[in-house]
């Protein structure tokens, strides 16, 4: 929360007053997490980096509309999540049109999984990927990025109840898929 971090609140005020250099603090604080969130959606490191970069530039250009006192994190995470979902939709459409390109793309994405991923993590990753889009997004944000329901609701624009519903359905499917690991 911005209330918990006076430096963040001050940085936002200075940026809103036209001091571009003050944006440095916000970028340093949230960039890593933004890249990670984008990666969780698009599953490609380069795309995730570009998305995070664009999200920060977009946020800077809209900083005048940002309400003072609000936390910056959920706002930038929401921008990056929405941008990543747009990329995913575009990519899905593209892949449906050109099925021949699907296999190499999938292999590339899989190869970019963190090298230290254990076999269990890979199983979880595969199970998450088998979920419908919104369940997958909510489950990834909750399980991997470790956001709580309310934070996910703020980031995705979904209601708290919808987030809980998606997570409940995802949890049920994951439990079935990973039954041999967690029984």
């Amino acid at each position: 929360m911005a209330d918990d971090d006076p430096n963040e609140a001050r940085a936002i005020e200075r940026v809103q007053a036209g001091d571009a250099a003050a944006y440095d603090y916000l970028v340093r604080k949230y960039l890593g997490r933004a890249v990670s969130i984008a990666y969780g959606v698009v599953r490609n490191a380069h795309d995730a980096e570009d998305l995070a970069q664009e999200a920060f530039v977009k946020a800077y250009r809209s900083i005048g509309r940002f309400r003072a006192g609000e936390p910056f994190g959920p706002w930038i995470f929401r921008i990056v999540t929405n941008s990543a979902l747009d990329v995913l939709k575009h990519r899905t459409k593209f892949r449906h049109e050109e099925l021949a390109d699907t296999a190499p793309a999938a292999r590339r994405d899989d190869a970019e999984l963190p090298a230290r991923s254990s076999e269990i993590a890979r199983r979880i990753d595969a199970a998450l990927e088998s979920l419908p889009e919104m369940q997958r997004l909510v489950a990834r944000l909750h399980l991997i990025e470790e956001f709580e329901h309310s934070e996910i609701a703020a980031m995705t624009g979904l209601s708290d109840g919808t987030v809980r519903s998606h997570l409940s359905l995802a949890r049920k499917k994951l439990k079935e898929t990973l039954a041999d690991l967690y029984d």
């Binding site: 571009a20 969780g40 970069q53 800077y60 963190p114 991923s117 979880i124």
Partner: protein
Amino acid sequence: MTEHDDFLARLRNDARPLRHQPDEATLARIHARIMEQIAPQPTLAELLAAWFRPLVATALAISLCAGIGVMTLRDDIAVVDSAIEISVEGDTYRVAD
């Protein structure tokens, strides 16, 4: 903690290696690109000033050289003008200051 929550807690723990953590160099590169993109753009007046500044400096340098050249030439003429002519037995001699 319920059995359901326990399942999620175990999943969270086991899924931790799946979090993508870009290295410092990557973060620094993205950071630099962001700051570059948001850096204030120069106004039209600043752009024109930046373009005209070397032209004005060149013109001033040329004017200065020309001024010094003219002054030197005038001194030479003055020397010539102030020369004294002495005629001795039909021969004319010029004596400068």
